[in-house]
Amino acid sequence: MTGSPIYREHHPKWLRPRMSTWWWLEKWAFVKFILRELSSVFVAWFVVYLLLLFRAVRDGDGAYQNFLAFSANPIVLTVNVVTLFFVVFHALTWFALAPRAMVVHIGKKKVPPFLIGVGNYGGWIMVSAGIFWFLLR
């Protein structure tokens, strides 16, 4: 609305209910969203854990044994299992969202979102299978 007969931009009597700090508890969809965002914290923990492993390896056998003992600690074990769950959750939600953001064209036709998802999961499974084979042979 531009100038004439003065449109009131803000009216003191309009109600503006405040959003509660716990807004994300109202809907399951919001809870899932917050969990998805939080999963990045767990990804960060795995990075830190990896760095601790690097340091232990670098510092020699004793440090490495300490690291193993540390890892075997029930609390650390639990934390790592939970972290694994969140990292998988992180990957799954990421793959679920990717087709929405990426529209791939082959010639003039759009690749259906389902195929992009298949491509992502397929790649993930193949790489994981390769790593498992490498580790277990």
């Binding site: 609305m1 531009t2 100038g3 004439s4 007969p5 449109y7 009131r8 009216h11 009597k13």
Partner: protein, 581 residues
């Protein structure tokens, strides 16, 4: 005192927005404003589904579009206006394409056209089955790029100020705050749409209450051809939601309770497997609605809790065709009537859809009051005559919206200041609104009761088939309702978004329009197009090849006069359909 605006456009639908753009393009220095009781994207143009006719096919010609329109209008159309209309329609539709309207296309990228009822050739442009929606949004979003176009969103205009032989502005209520303002302008264009809400079953939205027609009527402009109201033969019962003609042009069948394609009994050709132009289900709307009434009288229609219906059968088209060409039809049936057209029959009945009549204008959208213009459904130029062909009303918005805009811009360049008398009229209107609509706690009549009685009267007495007795009764009842309206109760005394006060104002507009319709119908003693008198079943060109003009007298009653029809190249002939013409 200098007027606040050069051009003030009342109504923000297809016609109003097109007019605004026309003014802005004619002269960006002119101060234009669009004032509407709803945000423009809520205007009723948004509901139109089928398409917009414009000659672009190689095997088509302006002459054929002209012939289809004039014969479809049963020769009550002003042929000079129709000539201009068929010539400008394709250009306007093309202009809209340039403004972004997503017309459906042929594989080579050119605009596609499809067949439509009453038209002999394929000339209806379409945007899937949401043509009006796409047109309105393309127009609205285009208006946003012109800084000279201002908007008054959610303001209700209650009166036109006329003095010194010309229009000087309006009085309007800001719905959000209840504030009443006099808004002065050098010219005013009415684009407020029709008045389907005077009937109980209508495709029209809640906002179609004939406000602009009543404004012009009270200002002294005549309403032309008000007796011609169009029923759309296929609307959902209860909600009145329109099932587009395109469902029939893609190949749907209309069947009665025995599954019989009953239209073949009514001089509309023989049933074929694929649609044939101007025959059977693609015949003109008035003939299809009349066939329904006759079937109902024979007892061959289906009984439902919401009245008598027939069935629209799309099952033979298959899911793929329905989902590509008619996705909205499927969505509507499922969401509002719990019916899936792919597997089931759709219950339909004739519902009020369009008003051919309206504020009388000439070919440049000018009313007899200097500076006052009208375009769109609110106006009657007349290009639709006694019966409008489907897909002619959307291009009408564009062609006459543009003409009104250009004419108003031209007029605004020359006029002078607002007269003190006009300002005084404005003040008087402020007082009247406060008195009549401000403090009504003690009234006795509920708005809804009066409205329903009016609707029942109109449907029963001024519906598809009319007689002298039914119409005379309607005239009396409506006069009585007008008097009872003085006692209406408005419980809501608030000034903030008072929709009850609005409903009362709208009801007074509807009563005025209904009265003019009943009076005009009573005096037209013939049957022509959409106006069918069982007591005068034939068309009478000697006595009634003329326009009905209804004027308001100072006591509120109607005075009916007549005006000639402009015939240029096509002398009156017989309307024939289904005979392979």
């Amino acid at each position: 005192m200098k007027p606040q605006h050069d051009v003030l456009i009342v109504g923000g639908g297809g016609a109003g927005l097109r007019a605004a753009i026309a003014v802005a393009e004619a002269d960006p220095k002119l101060k234009t404003a669009v004032i509407s009781k709803v945000y423009p994207m809520r205007s009723h143009t948004v509901s139109a589904e089928g398409g917009a006719a414009g000659v672009i096919a190689k095997d088509d010609s302006l002459e054929e579009h002209f012939y289809d329109t004039v014969s479809g209008g049963d020769w009550l159309c002003d042929q000079d206006a129709v000539e201009a209309f068929v010539r400008e329609a394709p250009q306007e539709l093309m202009r809209l394409e340039h403004w972004g309207c997503p017309w459906s296309r042929e594989p080579d990228g050119k605009v596609a056209v499809r067949p439509f009822g009453g038209m002999k050739r394929k000339r209806t442009w379409f945007a899937a089955d949401k043509t009006g929606f796409h047109m309105l949004h393309a127009l609205f979003q285009t208006t946003l790029k012109y800084p000279s176009i201002e908007r008054y969103d959610e303001w209700f205009v209650t009166k036109l100020l006329v003095d010194d032989g010309r229009v000087q502005g309006v009085v309007a209520i800001e719905i959000m705050t209840g504030r009443i303002e006099t808004i002065t302008a050098k010219s005013v264009i009415l684009c407020t749409g029709g008045c389907g809400r005077v009937f109980p079953f209508t495709t029209n939205a809640a906002i179609k209450t004939g406000d602009g027609m009543a404004l012009a009527y009270h200002a002294g402009a005549p309403l032309k051809d008000m007796e011609f109201i169009q029923y759309h033969p296929t609307g959902l019962p209860f909600t009145g939601i329109l099932i587009t003609e395109a469902a029939r042009s893609e190949g749907g069948y209309l069947v009665n309770k025995d599954g019989y394609r009953y239209l073949q009994d009514y001089d509309l050709g023989k049933p074929e497997a694929t649609p044939v132009f101007r025959a059977m289900e693609l015949g003109p709307r008035d003939r299809l609605s009349q066939a329904f009434v006759k079937e109902m009288q024979k007892g061959r229609t289906v009984d439902t809790p919401y009245g008598q219906v027939v069935h629209l059968d799309l099952r033979h088209l298959g899911e793929k065709v329905i989902d590509t060409k008619l996705p909205f039809v499927r969505e509507l049936c499922q969401k509002y009537q719990n019916v899936d057209p792919v597997k089931e029959l759709i219950p339909v009945r004739p519902v009020i859809h369009y008003m051919m009549g309206g504020v009388s204008t000439d070919v440049n959208a000018a009313t007899p009051i200097a500076g006052l213009y009208a375009a769109g459904e609110v106006a009657c130029v007349s290009i639709n005559g006694a019966n409008r062909l489907g897909s002619n009303s959307l291009p009408e918005l564009l062609v006459f919206g543009a003409r009104a805009g250009r004419a108003a811009a031209e007029f605004a360049r020359s006029t002078s200041d607002t007269t003190p008398a006009a300002i005084a009229q404005g003040k008087a209107e402020h007082t009247r609104l406060a008195k009549d609509f401000g403090g009504k706690r003690s009234g006795r009549e509920r708005i809804a009761t009066l409205r329903e009685e009016m609707q029942k009267t109109m449907e029963h007495s001024a519906g598809i088939y009319r007689t002298r007795d039914s119409l005379a009764k309607a005239v009396t009842t409506l006069r009585d309702l007008q008097l009872r309206f003085a006692n209406v109760v408005i419980e809501d005394q608030s000034n903030t978004f008072n929709t009850e006060r609005l409903a009362a104002l709208e009801l007074s507009c509807m009563l005025d329009v209904a009265e003019s319709m009943a009076n005009a119908a009573l005096l037209r003693e013939e049957s022509r197009g959409a106006h069918q008198r069982t007591d005068f079943p034939k068309r009478d060109d000697t006595k009634f090849l003329k326009h009905t003009m209804v004027y308001r007298q100072s006591d509120g009653s109607c005075r009916v006069e007549y005006a000639p029809v402009t015939i240029t190249t096509l002398p009156p002939g017989e309307r024939v359909y289904g005979k392979g013409s």
